[in-house]
Amino acid sequence: MSAYMKTVSSKLATLAAVAVCAVALLLAGTPRSLALIEIDITQGNVEPMPIAVADFIGSSEKDRQFGQDIAGVINGNLQRSGLFRPLGRDAHIEKISSFDAAPRFGDWRIIKAQALVTGRIALQSDGRLKAEFRLWDVFAQTQLTGFQFFTTPRNWRRIGHLISDAVYQRLTGEKGYFDSRVVFIEETGPKDQRVKRLAMMDQDGANLRRLTNGDHLVLTPRFNPKSQQITYMSYAGRKPRVYLYNIETGQREIVGDFQGMTFAPRFSPDGRQVIMSWQRDGDGNANIYTMDLRSRKIRRLTNTPAIDTGPSYSPDGKQIVFESDRGGSQQIYVMNSDGSGQQRISFGKGRYSTPVWSPRGDMIAFTKLLSRRFLIGVMRRDGSGERILTEGYHNEGPTWSPNGRVLLFFRESRGERGGPKLWSVDLTGYNEQEVETSNFASDPAWSPLMN
C-alpha cells in the first residue's frame, strides 16, 4: 500500500516535473519546438446536462416517501430550468443503498449521467425532518458538494428547492432561483366581470395561497426585496390606491395619504421606499413619486404633462427606469434616483412599456407593442442590445428570476373566454413554457431567494 503510494507519488512528481518543463519552455517564448500541441475548444454541446437524482434513502417507509417526493421536486426544478435533463428513475441501474458510500460511478456513466444527486431523509425524534444530500461528478468521480438541512416536515418542498439551488449553483456557477415565490393576480369569472385576487405560490406553482377575497379589484403586486411585504394596487372603496400587504400578519395598509390615484408601485432595493405613479386630483397626468415608508416623506421625481409610470429601480438603487409618453408614444427612460438626468433609452420601432431592471443590473426587460403584437424583450441598461425573447397576440409584464436568468410574464389568449396565463422563458429566448395555474393568472412578480 505504502509502496504503491510511493510509486504513484514519484510518478506524479516526474509528471509534474515534465509539466513544469513544458510550461517553462512555453514561457521562455522560444520557438515551441517541444512537441506540444495547443488547441482551442470553442464549441461544445449546449444540450441540457444529463443528471440523475436517485431516490433519497430513508430507514422508514415515511422517510422514503419524503425522499421520493423531494427527489421529485428536484427533478421538476432542474427539468424546467432547461439546463438539465434529469434521467428517469427507471433508467437508474444502481439502487443507492448507502448515503455514506460513494456510488458506483460506472453504473451512472452507462446511463450517461454527468452528475448524480444522492440523499437521505430521516424524521427526527423531535419531529423535525433531516435531509442530507451529496452531488457527485460522475466522470471525475468526486463529490462536488453536500449539505444537510433540518426543517419541519411541512416544509419538505423547500428542502427540494434548496437542494435544487445548491445543485444548480455548483454545476452552472450561478446562484439558483428555485427557493423563491411568485405573487400574482388570480383571475376568475367572465371577461366583463372578472374577479381578481392577490395570490402567491412557490416558483414551481405549488403551495398556492390566495391573499385577498376578490371583493375589490387588485392589480400589479410586487415583493419587498427585504421583508415579507407586498405592495399592490387596489380599488377598495372605489378609490384606486397603492397598498402594502404584510404576508406574515395579513395586514393591509394604504401607502400614504394621496389625493387622487396612486398606482404602479414597486419597492426600492432596500425595501424602505415605495416608488409609484400618482395621478393627483386636478392634475392631467400621472407622475412618479417615492414615499419613504418610515418618515412618510414624499418626493416628486418627474414633472411632465405626460403619463410617467412603471418605475423600477436598478439593483444598486441609484437609477430608475420607467416609461413615459412624453415624446408622443410610450418609450423607456432612465433617470437618477433623485429624478435628475432623465433620458430616453428605447429607440426601436413600436412602443415600449413595463420596464423592469434585472437583479444583476445589466439588463432591462420590457413589453413592446409592435404591429398590433405584444413582445417581451430585453435590452442593456443604455438601451442597446435589444433582443426579443417572445412575441404573440398579447404578452405583457415581465419579471426576473432572482438570479436574472429567467423571465416570467403573462400571455393573454384570444376570445371572449380567453384570459391570461403565466409563462416563463429564459434570457436567451429558449425554454419557453407555461407555469401551470388552476385559474387565469396575470401580473406576476418574482420574489428574491427566500433565505
Binding site: 500541441i37 458510500a101 471525475a140 468526486t142 395579513g250 444598486d316
Partner: protein, 295 residues
C-alpha cells in the same frame, strides 16, 4: 349537570353565532399560513474531497453529530447562502461588463447522432476539406445586432425575434463547423513537431470529441473572457496518462463550474481516436476551452 352542560353549550353556540354575525368577513386575511422559514443548514459540511474511485466518503457523517445539537446557532439566513463558495454576492454583480448579450444560443442541439460516428472515421482529410468549405456559417452575430436599433428594425416581427434560430445560427452543427478559422490559428501557428496537416488532424479529432462531450454551463454566455486551460498527457491508446489538470486559477463559482465541466468532458470523451503514428505530436497537449463563440 345536564343543565350546566346545555347552558354552557348554548352560550357557546350563541357566542359563535354572534361572532359570525358581528365579525365582518375575514376579508383579506385568512389564508396566510405562517411564513416561518425553518430550514436550517446544519452542516456546510462540504466534503468536496475528491473521492477517488469507489471509496466511501464517510467523513461526511462525522460532522453531523455535533451539528445536530446546535441547529439554531446557524442563522437561518445562512440557508440560502449555502452555496459552497465564499465568494461575494454573485448577484449584484457590478456587472456592466456590457458585453453584447451574446445572441441566441446557437444551441438547438443538432441532431447529434452524426457526431457519434465522426470521430472514428479516419478520414480527417475529408473533414478538413468540408470544414474549409463552410467556415463562415459561424453563428456570428445574428441579425439583430446589439447596436442602435433604428435601422435594423424591419417591420416583420419575425425579424425581431432574435431568439429564433435563423439560418446563420442553425447550420447543421457538423463536427466540422467549428473549425474556427477565425480564431487564432493556434494549431497552425507554432512550429513544432508534426506537419501542419498532422496537427490539423489532431485538432479536428479533439474538437469533434469536445463538441459532443462538453456541456458548458449556461453562465458562460456572459463570461466572454473566460479561458480554461488544461495540460494533458496521453498514453498511446489515446487515454490519459494522468488525470487532466487545469492550470486555470479558480477565482469564482463560474470559473470553477467551467473548469469542472471541461474536466468532465475530457474524461467522458476518453479515449481519443488519435492516430498512433503521430503519437509524438499529441502525447502532450494544451487545451484551451473558450466558450466565446458558442452562444
Amino acid at each position: 349537570m345536564r343543565w350546566s352542560v346545555s347552558i354552557s353549550s348554548l352560550i357557546h353556540v350563541a357566542l359563535l353565532a354572534s361572532a359570525v354575525v358581528v365579525l365582518p368577513d375575514p376579508e383579506e386575511f385568512e389564508v396566510t399560513t405562517s411564513e416561518a422559514v425553518p430550514v436550517e443548514i446544519i452542516s456546510e459540511e462540504e466534503v468536496p474531497k475528491p473521492v477517488p474511485p469507489e471509496k466511501p466518503p464517510e467523513e461526511a457523517k462525522k460532522p453531523e453529530p455535533p451539528k445536530l445539537e446546535p441547529p439554531k446557532p446557524e442563522p437561518k439566513q445562512e440557508v440560502a447562502a449555502l452555496p459552497p463558495k465564499p465568494e461575494p454576492e454573485p448577484t449584484p454583480k457590478p456587472d456592466p461588463v456590457e458585453e453584447p448579450p451574446q445572441e441566441k444560443p446557437v444551441e438547438e442541439k443538432p441532431p447529434e447522432p452524426k457526431p457519434e460516428a465522426k470521430p472514428e472515421t479516419p478520414d480527417p482529410l475529408k473533414k478538413l476539406i468540408e470544414s474549409h468549405k463552410l467556415p463562415q456559417k459561424k453563428p456570428k452575430a445574428p441579425k439583430r445586432p446589439k447596436e442602435k436599433p433604428p435601422e435594423r428594425f424591419d417591420d416583420t416581427i419575425n425579424a425581431l425575434l432574435n431568439k429564433l434560430p435563423d439560418e446563420t445560427s442553425a447550420p447543421l452543427p457538423d463536427v466540422t463547423e467549428e473549425t474556427e478559422p477565425t480564431d487564432t490559428p493556434r494549431t497552425a501557428a507554432v512550429s513544432q513537431s508534426g506537419t501542419q496537416l498532422e496537427r490539423e488532424q489532431i485538432a479536428e479529432i479533439v474538437r469533434a470529441k469536445m463538441s459532443q462531450c462538453w456541456n458548458p454551463p449556461a453562465a458562460l454566455k456572459d463570461a466572454h473572457n473566460l479561458k480554461v486551460t488544461f495540460n494533458l498527457a496521453f498514453d498511446r491508446s489515446g487515454g490519459f496518462a494522468r488525470a487532466p489538470q487545469s492550470e486555470t486559477a479558480v477565482s469564482d463559482s463560474i470559473t470553477r463550474a467551467a473548469v469542472e465541466s471541461a474536466r468532465r468532458a475530457l474524461m467522458r470523451c476518453a479515449p481519443y481516436p488519435l492516430p498512433e503514428e503521430t503519437y509524438d505530436v499529441w502525447k502532450d497537449m494544451v487545451l484551451n476551452f473558450r466558450p466565446i463563440t458558442m452562444f
